[in-house]
Symmetry: C2
Subunit: 355 residues, 2 copies
Amino acid sequence: MARVRKTVTIRDVAEEAGVSLQTVSRVVNGGPNVRPQLRDKVQAAIDRLGYVPSLAAQRMSGSRSYIILAINDRERTLADWRERMGTDWVDQMLLGGILTCSKHGYRMMVELVDTHSDHVERELGAALSALQPDGVILTPPHSENALITDLLAARGIPFARIGSDAPGAGIRLTMGDEGAAHLATTRLAELGHRRIAMIAGPAQYSLSGWRIEGWRRALAERGLPHEGLLEVGDFGYDSGARAARALLDRNPDLTAIIASSDQMALAALEVARERGLDVPRDLSLISFDNTPIVRFTQPPLTAIDQPIAETVARAVEQLIARSPDADDSAVIEVAAALVERASTAPAPAKIPDRG
Amino acid sequence: MARVRKTVTIRDVAEEAGVSLQTVSRVVNGGPNVRPQLRDKVQAAIDRLGYVPSLAAQRMSGSRSYIILAINDRERTLADWRERMGTDWVDQMLLGGILTCSKHGYRMMVELVDTHSDHVERELGAALSALQPDGVILTPPHSENALITDLLAARGIPFARIGSDAPGAGIRLTMGDEGAAHLATTRLAELGHRRIAMIAGPAQYSLSGWRIEGWRRALAERGLPHEGLLEVGDFGYDSGARAARALLDRNPDLTAIIASSDQMALAALEVARERGLDVPRDLSLISFDNTPIVRFTQPPLTAIDQPIAETVARAVEQLIARSPDADDSAVIEVAAALVERASTAPAPAKIPDRG
DNA sequence: ACAAGTCTTGAGAACGCTCTCAAGTTGCGC
DNA sequence: GCGCAACTTGAGAGCGTTCTCAAGACTTGT
């Protein structure tokens, strides 16, 4: 009885409305030059039949695929990934990306690529050939990978790079890293802190450099020192612990740390606990990322909120709006914000005892 | 100089190998009945040219689209979503889904749908028409939504439902909720706890019921009471706090709580702190989800690890392997595990003072 | 060695849409 | 009113695959 319902095609709509395929196509795509009366008639037929154009067919004939591809980092195995989790990057990205895409009739697909693999080009090339996306969004560390950006440039696919100022083509977006670090540092200085350390991310990430710059600038503005107050981690927990220990060992008078990731901040928090330092009484702590985790630590962490979803949304819009030969070197900055929680407090009147 | 490279099509490969399109197609799809010698020749041409079939074209002509669509819950706004975050569901899902899909030459797309919207059917219908996926994966609460399952059944699209035993078609997958609750409860009982409470999820989720069942069964097996030890929340923080307060008010001798989500467990932890109860000395706590958050609370929480990635991976495999008229009512259970951390301890010798 | 398969290969249509281009309509200035 | 420029509509080709079906090459049994 209930026969398998055949897909409604543009032809069905054309018949229903008594016009040609072409006219329906024009109405669907908001083409110009269709008389209002006819347009209404066709639109009515579309609504009646519940017609939605097939993405695949659109891609086949038209010049666009209506697909934006987001490239994300992939860890080698499931277990690895779970261990390393602690950021909601992907969630945020999807949220900003998918909603923005669908607002414009596009679709977002996610590809997981291992930057360190020898096959990056082949893997990515295969994805590009299969999907033929209209645009690609690169997140760190892929946005810094010349192999990838070159490949995209060679294929003539517009792309947006988030968090990188490595040379090369593509729209660039930053999440206000320099400003954010400056903001965090300034806030700590206002609270009376004089020795404010930074646990930075690895040097191959542009954003690590920006954050260091913002921190230095804020310190310089207030005549505060930066010597011996910088440690570099890899965004992971262990490296954060090492860095925190080194900083505390080297600076008995340290009262504030800015960590370049939530994971490293969590590690610093743990190290402080180990050493009997109370956060925030003895040591103030500010982290970057503001993932859900830091709202539930003890104390909850003051953090820089990176507007990931908004940034990806902007990237999508740029890629979609991009006319074929538009200016390819736009630089867009989305501002980050400081979310104050309980891990920051006025500097202690005197240096805490570090037995 | 660098001309825009034209896409490599099956026709190019055919010419390069000196065979017909059809033969190339056969080789690409691992068709039978191609002589090894010819197959090698064609494969060589494919490799030389770096040919990858266009997904859109495959969809156009063939019967498959090579797309698996995952339906996820969508909160109304960006801000809402961020506030409610605290689970890495989507990350996990993508991880399991994307990797498994690409292993089989498929792609996964994610659609965010608001279950409570009046337009569910229209929204989802549009996505289905546009993408024509070969299979759909439904996560809670969508897996319980008859509007959605009926729509899929009517369209004849195979689908997998995760965490639901609501009647209707589709492959069903569970993450061992009954067993997991039983496991957690039993473990607490082994630690000497006699009054073990459960903060359950909302009744409209099948998994809430399963967890209650598992908890009851474990209690019954050991002759422990369950009266007055059940509260229902909505998985969110606030509801967890309310539930924890109610349980503690009502049961002065309560020494253990199982919470049906990390958020609710975090709330219970906070309520315990408010009341001067030490976790785990005075109160043991086990949560469901095991999202990254609970590794960094103070103390880190013992939690049931739901194998989301693995479950989605299984779902994908089922959908892909599914022959057109295969058995449509498979039920698959992936076992959850208990990850012991510092929020569980032997029951206190005497009931803690609850001033 | 011959009929009756089975294997291998290819030709051509079809998928659903947009593109290009041509034809028919309408509007406007003189 | 006429000619030229719009604007409006439609016809047909083409996108890159796979499908169906037919033709040729090779087996096998007797």
